[in-house]
């Protein structure tokens, strides 16, 4: 049973998510702003935190900063109505292990939560597109080539995600196991979080599209 905390400032949305999540997921609590979220995470120690990006008091990024900054091992899945590049790249670089938009179906959300609980990353097609775009648009010399570029395989996996393939379909397409797909995605996530290529953030800010 995966224990989940829902952090969102819209009560209606919190109850909607609660109703939609499958039986394999236990919602242990809800929080409506940064302060209550930080406190609830410390008190309840959930496996996964469903984190809204825009909230009073600094938003999801502030929660990430305060919780992960204190050395907590809680895993975050960002859930937002926005899919502006700034927000997406922002929370991922803040430490979230995935990003899905709020129009995701209940079943997909359940899958995403389980995947994050297992320590894997969750990329929506749009996030995959952003990452491909961000890493492709590099013209400045990179500081750390290992972190600053994607491998051929990682690129292939991301492209398939962007095309709307599920992990299982990607595995079949590339003749690899689902676990390997997950490894590739996690490695992209790590690069996304650790690469200090400053264009990554600049790119996200410059690209304010929907």
């Amino acid at each position: 049973m995966t224990r989940v905390l829902i952090v969102d400032d819209h009560r209606l949305f919190r109850s909607g998510v609660r109703a939609e999540l499958g039986d394999s997921i236990e919602v242990v609590g809800e929080a409506e702003d940064v302060d209550t979220a930080v406190k609830a995470i410390a008190d309840l120690q959930p496996d996964v935190v469903l984190l809204d990006v825009h909230m009073p008091g600094g938003g999801g990024q502030e929660v990430l900063r305060r919780v992960l900054g204190s050395g907590s091992q809680v895993r975050f899945l960002a859930l937002s109505v926005s899919d502006a590049a700034e927000d997406v790249i922002g929370v991922i670089r803040g430490g979230a292990r995935g990003y899905v938009t709020k129009n995701i179906s209940g079943k997909e959300l359940t899958d995403a939560i389980r995947r994050v609980a297992d320590g894997d990353a969750v990329f929506s097609p749009r996030l995959a597109g952003f990452v491909l775009d961000a890493f492709a648009s590099s013209e400045a010399p990179s500081i750390d080539p290992e972190l600053d570029s994607l491998t051929q395989r990682e690129r292939e996996v991301l492209r398939l995600i962007a095309r709307g393939y599920a992990y299982k379909e990607i595995a079949k397409e590339l003749f690899i196991s689902v676990k390997t797909v997950e490894t590739h995605v996690s490695s992209v996530l790590r690069k996304l979080q650790l690469s200090n290529r400053h264009e990554l953030s600049r790119w996200a800010t410059a690209r304010r599209l929907v």
Partner: protein, 403 residues
């Protein structure tokens, strides 16, 4: 600056603060600094005030001494006694000496109590000057110097002419000696009026700015209200009327969402100028027409070419979307457009029922003509991957030289 720092530091925490003399940042014995903290002014103002008053019959020196005796020293809490800033002290002394010399030369310091209005006016100006917002202070100075610099010759000539003219006139009339007290009186009155009017003018200016900001805010509000009224409320009404048809409700909600996003994030794109914008527009149109959500992801972008190669690709992509929306029964469609160097690729994928490509009758124009044929005629390729029950994916590739 040490002065600013001590000003910012809170003194005693008690609700009523007694004036004290801090050792840190003092120049003589800390009286000016203590007074500055108490009155929330810059210590420089207080120091200039003391210097100015000292020139007039030594009033400043007496006042300083009295305050020094009455004010307790702030406990130094074991820290070493900080050194004085000798350069600042020297600067203030120089000002004092200069003023004294000026007074002695013009005979103003013998003017006794009659000189006090000048001193008071000077102090008032210094306080006002210091109270003004630093940004504005800079603005005043730069504005004044700029306009003077611009017409430097003319201004100088004008002032010179007026002064020479006036002195000449008075000298000729032999009334220069008598006019002196009158001139001084005029200067005092004008200075006094300026001191009185300055805060009022500053307030008026501030009010004007506030009003302008308020007006801008109201205009923005009106724009939002119009937007919400025209589209969001309209859509909500429509949704209530078709609530029996979930497909239509979804379609309306999606269309409204797209509209709102466009409005909020305002991508500065001309829908008919670049590939990504065109793909998004086509997907939006087909989503509206068929009520199936179409998710679009674009990586890279390219301007549409004049030969119409990309135009053909877009037409084929539209046909693929139409097919998926009409026949696949898929709950959603994924569109992925990628520009990599000269190569443009568009994928249209659904998770619908799929079909047997070979079993499609020859007269069905959709795939064979509108997609594959069209792409090949323009020098591109189209590939269709499908199997019954596996969904369909159409891949369109076109090479276009970058302009």
């Amino acid at each position: 600056m040490a002065d600013q720092k001590t000003l910012a530091e809170p003194g005693a925490a008690a609700p009523y603060r007694r004036m004290t003399r801090a050792m840190e940042g003092r120049l003589v014995s800390g009286v000016a600094q203590g007074l500055a903290t108490q009155l929330k002014l810059d210590p420089v103002v207080i120091r200039l005030m003391f210097v100015l008053l000292s020139v007039v019959e030594g009033v400043g020196v007496v006042a300083y001494a009295v305050l020094w005796m009455l004010t307790p020293q702030q406990p130094n809490e074991g820290r070493p006694v900080p050194a004085r800033d000798w350069s600042q002290l020297a600067a203030f002394s120089a000002i004092g000496v200069a003023l004294l010399a000026f007074g002695w030369l013009t005979g103003a310091s013998q003017g006794g109590i009659g000189m006090l209005p000048f001193a008071v006016g000077g102090i008032g100006t210094i306080i006002l000057w210091q109270q003004a917002d630093p940004e504005r202070r800079k603005h005043w100075v730069s504005g004044a110097t700029k306009s003077i610099r611009k017409n430097r010759v003319r201004t100088l000539l004008g002032v010179l002419l007026v002064v020479v003219g006036a002195i000449g006139f008075l000298a000729v009339e032999g009334q220069f000696q008598e006019a002196r007290p009158g001139l001084m009186f005029t200067a005092v009155v004008v200075g006094g009026l300026a001191v009185i009017a300055a805060p009022w003018l500053a307030g008026l200016w501030k009010e004007l700015q506030l009003e302008r900001r308020e007006r801008i805010r109201q205009e923005e509000r009106a724009e939002v209200a119009a937007m919400v009224h025209d589209s969001v409320l309209h859509t909500l009404t429509l949704i209530q009327r078709v609530s029996h048809d979930p497909r239509e409700v979804t379609r309306l909600a999606r269309a409204q969402e797209r509209d709102l996003r466009n409005w909020l994030y305002q991508p500065a794109q001309d829908a008919d100028a670049t590939l990504a914008a065109a793909v998004r527009r086509i997907a939006a149109e087909e989503e509206d027409a068929h009520g199936v959500p179409i998710e679009v992801v674009c990586v890279g972008d390219i301007d549409l070419d004049a030969q119409g190669k990309l135009g053909a690709t877009l037409k084929a992509a539209r046909q693929a979307m139409v097919n998926a929306a009409k026949y696949s029964e898929s709950p959603s469609i994924s569109v992925y457009a990628e520009v990599e160097g000269e190569e443009t690729t568009i994928f249209v994928k659904d998770r619908g029922k799929g079909f047997d490509l070979d079993a499609v009758p020859l007269d069905r124009m959709g795939i064979r003509e509108s997609i594959i044929g069209r792409m090949e005629r323009h020098g591109g390729t189209a590939r269709v991957r499908t199997e019954p029950g596996e969904g369909t994916e159409v891949m369109l590739t076109m090479k276009v030289e970058k302009q």
